[in-house]
């Protein structure tokens, strides 16, 4: 049931985002808005949370990460300098509302409850939970009779307990860290591991000889957020992001960090 729900939920979220953007594009149709009017501050002001590695992290005065690279690439394609505004999660959406920022690129998940105030671009990364296995286990429904490793107390732990109520039993193997859970799957102490996509990709970079399959179990779609009252910016940002997807730049950036 849950797998089916996920099957429907993901296209629905993406469809809702695309529909909103299509409507925006229609609303924004007309003579092109000059950049000076579109970005009156002369820069793409990006709200970013520098406490979220590998998406954004501040070491001394050096800001780096995947979100930073995406923002800089968007700025390049919009022909604007990028001005970063450092914010914690609590202040991110308010900064859009109070016009402190033009866009938020901060590992933000598309949140359908915010669509009155915020427009989201298409997703640029899925940070959901992935099932990692080198034994052909491709979905949670394949688990009965096998063992699953995960980080104790994590979202994967919650998911595992949730699935135990829905399908035939499987053995649960909680570990202290996600890397321990992945070690268990790699070394054969468990048939699969359930971890978030970021942890999985970072682990696989460190263990290039191990080639398991990764299959998403949940979705956590990261997107660029813009002000709903400035639809021209939403369209411009989304078009720039689309061009990054089309020419492979987005993938290059993701692979640089994960």
């Amino acid at each position: 049931m849950a797998a089916r729900a996920r099957l429907y939920a993901l296209p629905l979220i993406v469809l809702a985002a695309l529909l909103a953007l299509a409507l925006l594009r229609r609303a924004a149709d007309g003579p092109p808005v000059p950049p000076a009017k579109l970005f009156p501050y002369g820069a793409l002001r990006v709200g970013i949370d520098p406490s979220n590695p590998p998406f954004a992290v501040l070491n001394g005065n050096n800001l780096s990460g995947m979100d930073v690279d995406i923002a800089n690439e968007l700025g390049k394609r919009l022909d604007l300098p990028v001005q970063f505004v450092f914010l914690g999660y609590d202040g991110l959406y308010d900064s859009l509302k109070s016009d402190q920022t033009d866009a938020l690129i901060a590992g933000l998940t598309i949140d359908l409850t915010r669509l009155n105030d915020v427009h989201y671009s298409q997703p640029y990364f899925n940070a959901g939970l992935v099932l990692v296995s080198d034994q052909g286990l491709a979905a949670m429904t394949d688990l009965p009779g096998h063992s699953l490793a995960y980080e104790f107390g994590s979202e994967a732990d919650t998911q595992a307990r949730d699935w135990l109520r829905r399908i035939l039993p499987f053995a649960t193997k909680p570990y202290e860290l996600p890397t321990d859970a992945l070690d268990a799957a790699r070394l054969g102490d468990a048939n699969a591991a359930l971890v978030d996509a970021v942890s999985a990709r970072l682990y696989l970079r460190a263990h290039p000889d191990w080639k398991p399959n990764l299959n998403y179990v949940t979705d956590n779609l990261y997107a660029v957020a813009t002000q709903a009252r400035r639809p021209e910016i939403s369209v411009a940002v989304n078009d720039a992001l689309q061009s990054m997807i089309d020419d492979g730049t987005l993938n290059q950036i993701i692979n640089r960090w994960l």
């Binding site: 914690g88 590992g107 949730d162 070394l187 054969g188 970021v198």
Partner: protein
């Protein structure tokens, strides 16, 4: 001339009347098919049984649509052994238009908490649209945290109305939240003297409305921002300046936010370090200004176990530090009336790292930290390993 027109109107009304009746019947039939809201009838009054009277949870109940979720959250709070909650009661929700109060959302929380035997500390803030316009400036770029000084009397009036309505049920009122960061001060310049004026505006009307009320100065955001920063001001410096601005007579207790971040619960405090025991430095400022007799309430504390946030720890460390903090506060902080953990549960997930602070998921799944704190509050020792040892590099399959 008038007669034919009246006749025409009458004919139109006669023609439309059957349709209006049909529409009414259809509406009534459709309404009958709408499922009724799940009810949350009050059961027998409960009491909280706990070995730790300091234990308290910060809840997020005001945004709940379904009353049964409020009831369930409070029952789980009681079952965990927490006898107190901190809950936010936004001014903007209650006095949406000037002078017209809608207490219904607040009432149902108070009613359900009383039934569970749980004491409430109320945090008051969030400015209604009409009050944000009182400085005659455009409200285009204001936020719910923008409180123009011209609206201080209106806010004070609201606080007094709240104090009067819930006298004897809610006597502890936190005025505002984290005024030492620009975001919580409506992106205005952080201003200890301005906040002192707000406390002064509120204090007398609140006490007149409820003589037993306790006004708590807001918990400050743990931050190292220096003087002159556009983002905020170091909480220790801010509290010092708040006293210098003459705020002392206008609050009865201090709320403190003491997050552990990546440090263990017993890490020693320092001016340039954000950790759990930083609360002791804030307490030192109170003592320095002759306020040792005033209690403090740790109204926000805890550790976060998001997998990637730079200021988070693993779930296992979070549990260890949380239990350590409860034990430490019991033994060392007799000046701390409560130790309130952020947060029991969110009505909807934030879909970001703040979800790593919760004890219960939005879908009411209890996280392991819930059981660990419950065991502590019952005086039980945890003697079972909660996780497996790290795998060794010899394949066992």
């Amino acid at each position: 001339m008038k007669r034919p027109r009246a006749q025409a109107a009458l004919a139109t009304a006669r023609r439309l009347l059957p349709w209006a009746i049909r529409a009414l019947i259809a509406y009534a039939l459709l309404a009958a098919f709408v499922p009724a809201q799940p009810r949350a009838p009050l059961g027998a009054p409960q009491t909280v049984q706990t070995d730790d009277p300091q234990l308290c949870m910060h809840t997020r109940l005001i945004d709940e649509v379904d009353e049964w979720k409020i009831q369930r959250s409070l029952a789980l709070t009681r079952e965990m052994g927490a006898g107190t909650i901190v809950e936010f009661f936004p001014w903007a929700y209650i006095e949406g238009s000037e002078g017209h109060y809608d207490w219904s959302s607040a009432d149902r929380i108070v009613k359900q908490a009383q039934n569970q035997g749980i004491h409430i500390i109320a945090r008051l803030g969030y400015v209604p649209d009409w009050a944000r316009k009182l400085d005659n400036a455009s409200d285009e770029f204001t936020t719910l945290n923008t409180l123009p000084p011209a609206a201080y009397p209106e806010f004070a009036q609201f606080v007094a109305a709240f104090a009067a309505r819930y006298a004897g049920e809610i006597d502890d009122l936190i005025i505002w939240n984290e005024p030492n960061i620009a975001f919580e001060w409506g992106y205005q310049k952080v201003d200890p003297a301005g906040y002192a004026s707000l406390l002064q505006a509120v204090y007398a009307p609140a006490h007149a409305a409820n003589p037993n009320v306790k006004i708590l100065a807001a918990g400050l955001a743990p931050t190292l921002e220096p003087v002159g920063s556009a983002v905020g001001l170091n909480d220790i410096t801010y509290l010092d300046e708040l006293y210098d601005a003459g705020a002392q007579p206008y609050f009865d207790a201090l709320a403190i936010h003491a997050y552990g971040f990546t440090y263990p619960y017993n890490d020693p405090p320092a001016f340039d370090k954000l950790n759990f025991r930083r609360a002791e430095l804030l307490r030192d400022v109170m003592v320095k200004h002759g306020d040792a007799a005033k209690p403090a309430f740790i109204t926000e504390t805890g550790w976060n176990d998001d997998p990637h946030w730079a200021l988070a720890v693993s779930p296992s460390l979070r549990i260890g530090d949380t239990i350590g903090a409860l034990d430490y506060a019991q033994k060392n902080w007799n000046w701390a009336d409560k130790l309130c953990f952020w947060a029991l549960r969110y009505p909807v997930p934030t879909l970001s790292y703040p979800d790593g602070y919760t004890f219960i998921t939005t879908t009411f799944q209890l996280k392991p930290i819930y059981y660990a704190v419950q065991a502590f509050a019952r005086g039980l020792e945890q003697d079972q390993a909660l996780w497996l040892p790290a795998p060794v590099s010899t394949p066992s399959r």
